[in-house]
């Protein structure tokens, strides 16, 4: 008789499992569709930064240097196609942030600018206010006669050159982490529970296959699927939304390594859930108990610093937080894997902890 190959058996399970995963709607939705939808939504929202909408009064002079300079400021958006009545109504509702009326004179003061702000949009009013002041100051300096006394104060502005930190640079690592978390927890929990409930595993045990082959085969399939998903998310982010992969391919590989570490740890939760759950309908509540808090608290959508201070220590120890953190540092700051060893160390601790629990909780029958 030919020698029995555990390797072949493991591969057979991996292949079967991978086929099954790609045909299961829920795994495709959770791993790819949800994260992509979030990335899409935030990718588009993120494109528009602050914009101050200013209605231009009907009798305003618009052929002058002041108007042209204001127009060049990227965040200022002049509205000239509304009637005076509409403009006033929109101003009081806060749909436009200010109404401006420029009068040009031949003698000094050369300009009179009447600006109507609205209480409905005070923040943007303030932005406009300070923009106008800076501009007047500069024009003032430029038109000073040469014999005038020096100004009381001098404004010197410089901008350090840096990379633009786009919304996508924050959102994408969070969504990638979320994708890994849900595929790791939900996918693993469901598959082992259903294999156990439908006696598929029992039938496997009637063959010479080893237990570890079943676990390793399943894990190989799920990790492969999760990493294909991760690569897909990274590439769409990079090419469709300008996600920053600072050192290009090297960063991509580092991100994939982090994804691998992440999904392996999250699968530990999945194994645990499959052991705790009594039937298929008790998987979602238990799995959600693990994924939802991390989804909300791990800096997936907003930075942890936005949470109340009493909550932050909890946020900071969640495994997804460490993963998101490491991913953002690697992708945007160009950190190497060694640079994020602090995060990796805590992920390792989580990994050891959760697999210790998983080994205790996991059930074959």
């Amino acid at each position: 008789m030919k020698k029995y190959s555990n390797f072949k058996a493991t591969l057979a399970i991996a292949k079967a499992s991978f086929r099954s995963i790609t045909r299961s709607p829920s795994s495709v939705v959770f791993t790819l569709l949800f994260p992509l939808i979030f990335i899409l939504v935030f990718g588009f929202i993120g494109g528009s930064t602050v914009s101050v909408d200013i209605g231009v009064a009907k009798n305003s002079d618009i052929h002058n240097q002041l108007f042209d300079s204001l127009k060049k400021i990227s965040i200022i958006n002049f509205i000239q196609d509304q009637s005076t009545a509409d403009m006033n109504a929109n101003l009081s509702k806060g749909h436009i942030d200010a109404i401006m009326d420029i009068e040009k004179h031949d003698t000094a003061p050369y300009y009179t600018v009447n600006v109507q702000y609205t209480k409905a949009s005070q923040e943007k009013g303030n932005i406009l206010q300070s923009l106008l002041r800076t501009m007047f100051y500069k024009m003032d300096i430029a038109t000073r006669p040469s014999n005038a006394p020096p100004p009381v104060a001098e404004l010197k502005e410089t901008t350090v050159s840096g990379r633009e930190y786009k919304t996508i640079d924050f959102i994408l690592p969070g969504q990638l982490g979320f994708s890994l978390l849900s595929t790791g927890v939900f996918g693993t929990a469901f598959v082992f529970l259903s294999l156990r409930m439908t006696l598929v595993i029992k039938r496997f045990f009637a063959t010479p296959v080893k237990k570890y082959s079943i676990v390793v085969g399943e894990a190989m399939a799920r990790i492969t699927f999760a990493l294909i998903g991760a690569a897909f998310i990274l590439l769409i982010g990079r090419f469709a939304f300008g996600f920053t992969l600072i050192h290009g391919f090297v960063t991509f590989i580092n991100m994939m390594i982090l994804s691998f570490i992440g999904v392996v740890i999250f699968m530990g939760f999945g194994f645990t859930v499959s052991g705790i759950a009594k039937n298929e309908s008790s998987v979602p509540p238990i799995a959600n108990l693990i994924t939802l808090p991390q989804f909300l608290l791990s800096g997936t959508f907003f930075t942890i610093s936005a949470f109340p201070t009493w909550l932050q220590p909890i946020c900071k120890v969640l495994p997804l937080t460490f993963l998101n953190d490491a991913m953002r540092r690697v992708a945007f700051e160009g950190a190497s894997l060694w640079d994020v060893n602090h995060q990796l160390f805590y992920l390792l601790l989580w990994g050891i902890g959760i697999y210790a629990v998983a080994v205790k909780m996991f059930k074959w029958e």
Binding site: M1, K2, Y4, S5, K8, A9, L11, A12, I13, K15, A16, S17, R19, S20, R23, S24, S194, L195, T198, L199, V200, K202, R203, F204, F205, A206, T207, P208, V209
Partner: protein, 254 residues
Amino acid sequence: MAKQPIITVKNLVKNYGDFKAVQDISFEVYEGEIFGLLGPNGAGKTTTLEIIETLRDKTSGHITVDGFDIEKDADSIKKRIGVQLQAAGYYPNLNLSELIALFSGLYGIDKTPMEMLEKVALTDKAKAKYKELSGGQKQRFSIATTLINDPRIIFLDEPTTGLDPQARRNLWDLIREIRDNGTTVVITTHYMDEAEILCDRVAFIDGGKIIDIDTPDNFIDKLVATGFERQKQVKLANLEDVFINLTGKEWREG
């Protein structure tokens, strides 16, 4: 035919806590026969079967399968037997060919899905999912998976439960064919007509004990010899014969 035992069960005991599921049973299954384990639900049939299949631990007793001790050589036994479980499912989202490929990998055997499906006349369902099959097709597919490793013995746990008369007859033919090809078959069933027609020998189990073992013919003769008579006069045909006669022998895919 020399009766060579291929399975020997000696003083098998299985307790679940206080519940004595199997109480000291002993029997032999001969090579090349269809051996039936008969008895009401909860009699211990499935437990006994699963212990022989190395899926369950025994409390005490001694069992050899094809010369191997179940305690020491479970792996060798697994390579030599085919197991069909009662109500077992199959890996989700895979079609029949892919499932056969999976089992070939699990057994470490190179078999093409088509050659296995051909044995159970399911080649036209190669791309179908297991759950899309009819009851009879499901059972035949299960049997196909038990044959992948060219087993010496196959175990079938209530393979005909829930099937219509045509599908049942079709399955009997398949089981006989497997036996005629030299594979020993161990089967459990609730249908006595089935056991009478199909099994070479049967064992009656009740309350975790074997009551008696013999050929169906001998059992009936022994009972008749005691003066037993059916209350209703036996006719030359029964209602199932009428059913088959009216609806045809042809096996339905539905």
